[in-house]
């Protein structure tokens, strides 16, 4: 997957540069409510359940202040990615126990025609492994700046 392909899955309405949440549960609710608000989802509880179950398996806080909560759900019609940023940091029980400042929530339907969910997940991990990209993302104020960073990431 190229960065050019990846950016086609982002949506300005799912760009949340000032998250209010301070805990993992609040974070999931804040982002899922945005999915519901823009009508990508009708049943928030089903998605919240799936995300919480995923954390039961192991934390999606991958360290270095980044979390990538993810999963497939029958309640989604398309692959969707939300980006959120928290200045104050979110308690997340990450693998390195550090609070989370950058969040990418990746949701996929049961079957995606081109099977792009796992490549997207892999690409996000690759991009977020670069410390320069993480620092730039922390500074991004607009959706255009954000997309530019992902393109060059």
């Amino acid at each position: 997957m190229t960065n050019e392909e990846l950016i086609t899955y982002f949506d300005e309405q799912l760009f949340l540069p000032d998250l209010k949440a301070t805990s993992k549960d609040e974070l999931f609710e804040e982002i899922v409510d945005q999915f519901v608000k823009i009508k990508y989802l009708k049943n928030r509880e089903i998605l919240l359940d799936m995300l919480r179950r995923r954390e039961q398996l192991g934390s999606t806080g991958i360290g270095k202040n980044v979390a990538i909560p993810h999963g497939r759900t029958t309640s989604a019609s398309d692959v969707m990615i939300a980006f959120g940023k928290s200045k104050q940091g979110i308690e997340y029980n990450s693998v390195d126990n550090k609070p989370v400042n950058l969040v990418f929530m990746i949701i996929a339907p049961p079957q995606d025609e081109n099977n792009i969910y796992l490549p997207i997940l892999g690409k996000m991990v690759e991009i977020l492994n670069k410390s320069k990209t993480r620092s730039k993302l922390m500074e991004a104020e607009t959706y255009e700046e954000f997309i530019d960073i992902i393109l060059k990431g």
């Binding site: 089903i46 359940d49 179950r53 398996l57 192991g58 759900t73 029958t74 693998v95 049961p110 997940l121």
Partner: protein
């Protein structure tokens, strides 16, 4: 509010998809070490669903991989693409009943 049988089935399918992809997400570097705990949660969830529904879900899963399929905006089963009768539309739907596609037999889930 208590979840309907259909909502529980959807949660079961979501959990099954998660279990299926554990090795792939591990390969990508994600933490996924508590597989046993997840399998236990799966069993507990299945126990909350009426047995005939669980049997039917398992049978459909074996046959099609995904037992529950979404219904498209044009009221089409996205499993076999048959147009569903107008009596089965999303209008007023509350997910209270479990409805099977007349074409392929999969369980239908309206997204809107």
């Amino acid at each position: 509010m208590e979840k309907s049988q259909l909502e529980l089935l959807v949660a079961l399918q979501d959990l099954d998809m998660m279990i299926e992809e554990i090795s792939e997400v591990k390969r990508l570097g994600f933490s996924a070490e508590r597989e046993e705990e997840l399998r236990k949660a799966r069993e507990e969830l299945a126990n909350k669903i009426k047995k005939p529904l669980v049997y039917s879900y398992e049978k459909l899963k074996k046959r099609y991989k995904r037992a529950i399929v979404p219904v498209g905006e044009d009221n089409t089963c996205l499993g076999c693409f048959i147009k569903l009768p107008t009596s089965l539309s999303s209008i007023g739907r509350t997910d209270a009943e479990v409805i099977y596609c007349e074409g392929c037999g999969r369980i239908l889930y309206w997204l809107s």
